[in-house]
């Protein structure tokens, strides 16, 4: 329609009025003339009206010229639909709420999935970014730190110098940095990034400037820091004077030189950096003053390059693979065994797309969210089936209305459209509700995820993609639940429907079959969701009920300060002093030093072997830790054989170790371990280490809750010859775990107020490793319950309808002498068929779905028979209850009344 036409459309009412006035004026003039011809006023008027003819038709004709017919129809339909929904509030409420829940759940999960998995980095041409890394599946040894330890600095430097496919390449590491000045630690998100980052990503500073590759040279003095926009707003109130200020990180002051643009959150999706610093500054914050850059086995960096114009990702991958041998030869780590060295030389680099950044959250939650999106899709399908069922029920109630309208000439298309408009209205209201529900749900989900990851930052702003997704989902839902009932409702033969005395008998058999089919579908899909809910709940239960083999209700305290290092023996004295002071806190039951605490995240492992009479035994990858006096009591790990460490085990005495049962099993089998010698795999440039086994402790989990027990070698801290600038203690308080923290801070400050203190409740740390499982169990449980309820409603509706429809027949049966229990049985059997068929189909579908989610399960198979049985039984029970009520109503029918109604 032309713009001119639209203005006509909006003036159509005025035009209609004008036409009415014009016609009235004609009648008046004609009446005047008739009177002049000698007629009585009444006769004159009547003659004028007759002469003009059908005035309403003329007005209508002019009205149609001015309007857009489909819009006019739509408006009429909308008002009609709204009136109908208002009249039937129960139906409207059920429809809108179930749609809202379905659409809301879908939107929320998709929003999270989009944020962590699909969205591109907010930088210029993100699709041209690729990550340079080792081929997945290859391994190296050394020290791995940071969230994405892919490369060493030397390696990155070689790649940067030799590559010819990128217009620029930079390396980065994200890790938390302490901003507190002694005392309890306060962490912010640090981003160590080489000077090229800003130009490679094509970013412009919001304030000040960025540092450049020239600023980022090894051995740089005090380099400048760039704040994130959010941190600038949060900590400095967005003041431009920030450029004259400094930020304290790990006890070092850095000048603030600029602020990053608002939408740049870093490269790790799910987190947001606070302060970015050049790589050369990293050494200033390290304990030894050299940092991680020089070490050739310090894996701490990830590299991202921008493809040069005309280059493709494949070309980049080929190119870095081709220059790999030279780079490997130039960056060979020291201290590798001959075998490791050979392996290292043979490893190739590759390039992979990095358009959407990298993410540890994505790795953990990408798959669960995809599974959940599937689940929410099923929930919506069930909701749609339910709604279709309700609409079909309404359709049969409106058969007569439709038949009459068809009989007096309404085109069927128009009726279908009108019914669809009703569905669209429901869908639109449902979607609005869904979006509100989604908002609440994503907030809850994020809080859940944050419990496992700490500072999670996920941008949940609505974007076009979200809008399109939600619109598409609700449109699809609307078609699913609305179209078939609308087509069915209008596929009538008016004559026979009207003849059937308002109780459409002729066409309903087929439509009723459809309703049964919908119930079977609902039951089947609900079974899939219930099965999922049970599998994920049992996974969580299995994980929660694992016996870790130690007391998790302990407080872990990490101390960090140079006063702890330096001279080994002096550090020993400081540690002992701190331990005594901590032990003196009222409410502390036990306290012990432990360099590595099980399931707390940091790991030290080596290849170890045990001497046997036949020579050195097999090499076994073993975890190591050093513990102090009272460790075994504090952690409640019993020593099964031999002895605990004691004052005998000084630095001058022969080195000793306690090993766990699994270590003994893997190295010696059934031989007696006490008195045997453990040796580590020899490395270049390191003195050979060996310990004599003096005791065996009970097995306990160490690195991963999900793994079997691993070999563990426990050494006494008293024999540690290496200086460390950190110390870790485990504290077992009598009461609440957190209650002793102020006292701990105070006691440590008595020794030295500039020691950094970090607290961890071990049980919470372990629980936070189960966030994924908790999330899956909670959400799939909620979806399962919802699905079960919807299926029950669907079944109840259909059975009530059957009973109402068959009340004559049932009345006759009862009159003929059927007992009410027979009727009860008859109705329930009918429902039983639907539920049974649904369960059989559901089991087949569920097995397929569960095996797709196999990796998310723990301690049970996707085909677990007990779970399958429970889900089926649960659904059968729901089905029984839902059909029992209508069945009871049927059995209580009064034959006299029913038959008289006829």
């Amino acid at each position: 329609m032309t713009p001119m036409g639209w203005s006509k459309y909006f003036r159509r009412r005025k035009k209609d009025e004008e036409a009415a006035r014009e016609i009235a004026s004609y009648i008046a003039i004609e009446t005047d003339e008739n009177i002049a011809r000698g007629m009585t006023p009444q006769a004159a008027h009547d003659a004028a009206v007759r002469k003009f003819g059908n005035a309403m038709r003329v007005r209508e004709e002019i009205y149609w010229m001015n309007t857009v017919r489909p819009i006019d129809n739509l408006w009429q339909d909308l008002r009609y639909a709204a009136r109908l929904l208002l009249r039937d509030k129960g139906f409207a409420l059920a429809a809108i709420v179930s749609l809202g829940l379905g659409i809301g759940a879908n939107t929320a999960i998709f929003q999270l999935l989009d944020a962590v998995r699909l969205r591109s980095l907010p930088v210029a041409q993100p699709e041209r970014l690729v990550e340079v890394r080792f081929k997945p599946g290859t391994s190296r040894s050394g020290s791995f730190t940071g969230r994405r330890p892919m490369l060493t600095y030397t390696l990155f430097d070689e790649v940067r110098r030799r590559q010819q496919v990128f217009s620029g390449i930079f390396a980065w590491n994200s890790s938390p940095l302490n901003t507190a000045d002694g005392g309890e630690v306060r962490r912010i998100e640090g981003l160590w990034a080489s000077g090229e980052m800003w130009s490679v990503l094509g970013l412009q500073p919001a304030v000040g400037r960025f540092y450049t590759p020239d600023d980022d040279r090894p051995g740089c003095g005090s380099p400048g820091a760039v704040l994130s926009y959010a941190y600038w707003q949060r900590e400095f109130g967005g003041a431009p004077s920030v450029l004259q200020q400094t930020v304290r990180l790990e006890g070092v002051k850095f000048d603030i030189i600029g602020v990053a643009p608002p939408d740049f959150f870093g490269l790790d999706v799910g987190r947001r950096f606070d302060v970015a610093l050049p790589l050369c500054g990293e050494r200033l914050t390290s304990a030894d003053g050299t940092g991680r850059a020089p070490g050739r086995s310090n894996w701490w960096l990830a590299a991202i390059g921008r493809l040069a114009p005309g280059r493709t990702e494949e070309q980049a991958a080929d190119h870095v693979a081709a220059i790999s041998p030279d780079i490997m030869a130039a960056t060979l780590p020291s201290g590798y065994t001959a075998e490791s060295e050979k392996q290292y030389r043979e490893t190739n680099l590759t390039a992979m797309t990095a358009s959407s950044g990298v993410s540890s959250i994505r790795a953990q939650f990408g798959e669960p969210l995809t599974v959940l999106l599937g689940a929410t899709g099923l929930v919506l399908l069930i909701a749609c089936a339910n709604l279709a069922n309700l609409l079909l029920a309404r359709a049969s109630a409106r058969e007569r209305e439709m038949a009459v309208r068809l009989a007096i000439g309404a085109p069927r298309r128009r009726l279908v459209l009108q019914l669809l408009v009703e569905s669209v209205l429901l869908a639109v209201i449902g979607t609005v509700l869904g979006v509100l529900i989604a908002r609440g749900l994503t907030t809850i989900l994020l809080a859940q995820i944050a419990a496992g990851f700490g500072n999670v930052f996920i941008d949940l702003a609505w974007n076009t993609k979200m809008f399109l997704f939600t619109t598409a989902v609700s449109a699809l839902a609307c078609l699913l639940f609305g179209l078939v009932p609308a087509l069915k409702a209008t596929a009538l033969s008016p004559a026979s429907t009207l003849r059937a005395g308002g109780r459409g008998l002729t066409m309903s058999r087929e439509r009723f079959g459809l309703r049964r089919l919908l119930v079977v579908t609902q039951v089947a899909l609900s079974l899939v969701l219930l099965l999922g809910a049970l599998l994920f709940s049992r996974t969580l239960y299995n994980l929660l009920s694992i016996d870790t083999g130690f007391d998790q209700q302990v407080l872990v305290v990490l101390l960090n300060h140079e006063s702890l290092s330096g001279d080994v023996d002096r550090g020993r004295v400081v540690r002992d002093d701190i331990r005594e002071r901590l032990a003196s806190i009222p409410g502390v039951e036990n306290v012990a030093q432990a360099d590595y605490v099980p399931l707390e995240g940091s790991i030290w492992n080596e290849m170890a072997m045990v001497d046997t009479p036949a020579g050195p035994g097999e090499k076994v990858l073993s975890n190591l830790t050093r513990v102090g006096k009272g460790y075994f009591e504090t952690m409640q790990v019993p020593i099964l054989r031999g002895r605990d460490f004691d004052t005998r085990d000084s630095r001058q005495a022969p080195p000793v170790a306690i090993v766990n049962e699994t270590f003994v099993k893997k190295t010696l089998g059934n031989d007696d371990p006490i008195g045997r010698t453990i040796r580590l795999e020899e490395r270049q440039g390191q003195p050979a280490q060996s310990w004599q086994i003096v005791g065996v402790s009970r097995d306990a989990k160490h690195t991963d809750l999900r793994e079997d027990f691993e070999p563990l070698i426990i050494l006494p801290v008293t024999q540690n010859a290496e200086a460390q600038n950190w110390a870790r203690f485990v504290i077992k308080p009598r009461g609440d775990l957190k209650s002793v923290t102020p006292a701990v801070v105070q006691k440590v400050a008595e020794v030295n107020p500039s020691i950094d203190i970090d607290f961890d409740v071990l049980s919470e740390t372990i629980a936070s490793g189960l966030v994924r499982e908790r999330l899956m169990a909670a959400l799939s449980g909620a979806f399962g319950v919802l699905a079960g309820l919807l299926a029950a409603v669907g079944l109840y509706g259909v059975m009530s309808y059957t009973v109402a429809r068959r009340s004559n027949e049932i009345g006759i049966r009862l009159a003929m002498g059927a007992r009410s229990v027979d009727v009860l049985k008859m109705v329930i059997t009918e429902a039983g068929w639907m539920v049974g068929l649904g369960v059989v189909i559901g089991v087949a579908l569920g097995l397929g779905a569960a095996s797709a989610a196999r990796t998310l399960l723990f301690g049970l198979q996707p085909t677990d028979p007990a779970t399958l049985f429970s889900a089926s039984a649960l659904l059968a029970t729901i089905g029984f209850i839902a059909s029992y009520l209508p069945a009871r109503r049927a059995s209580k029918l009064d034959p006299m009344k029913t038959l008289r109604q006829e």
């Binding site: 036409a19 004609y26 003039i29 010229m65």
Partner: protein, 116 residues
């Protein structure tokens, strides 16, 4: 609902009515009643104007910018909607008249020999 005949069917007649309306406005602005009267009298009551067609036709002509309308007072002091020719309407009338004359001439030439 009533359905109006689609444009295309009865084009000739509709075109003729449009032309007659425009012609009746040459002598000056007039309201619907006068227009109908003028056409009927001018044709010695050979042509009867259906009001069901006249008013929609006026509306259509106004839409196309061939006539313009204003509210005025009639001879016997009644409010009435007056129509007048626009320049575009004049041009259209001229074109239509010559087209009609050609057509009428052609038809009468064809009919003549038969009556001879």
């Amino acid at each position: 609902m009533p359905r109006r005949s689609q444009p295309g069917s009865g084009d000739m007649l509709q075109g003729a009515l449009d032309m007659l309306i425009l012609r009746s406005l040459v002598i000056g602005p007039a309201h619907g009643h006068t227009i109908a009267h003028t056409i009927e009298h001018g044709s010695d009551h050979v042509l009867q104007v259906e009001h069901g067609s006249l008013y929609p036709a006026l509306h259509r002509l106004e839409d196309r910018g061939l006539v313009a309308s204003f509210w005025g007072t009639s001879e016997n002091n009644r409010k009435a909607k007056y129509y007048r020719l626009t320049p575009a309407g004049k041009k259209m009338l001229a074109a239509e008249t010559s087209r009609w004359e050609q057509l009428a001439g052609a038809i009468s030439r064809l009919l003549k020999p038969a009556t001879d």
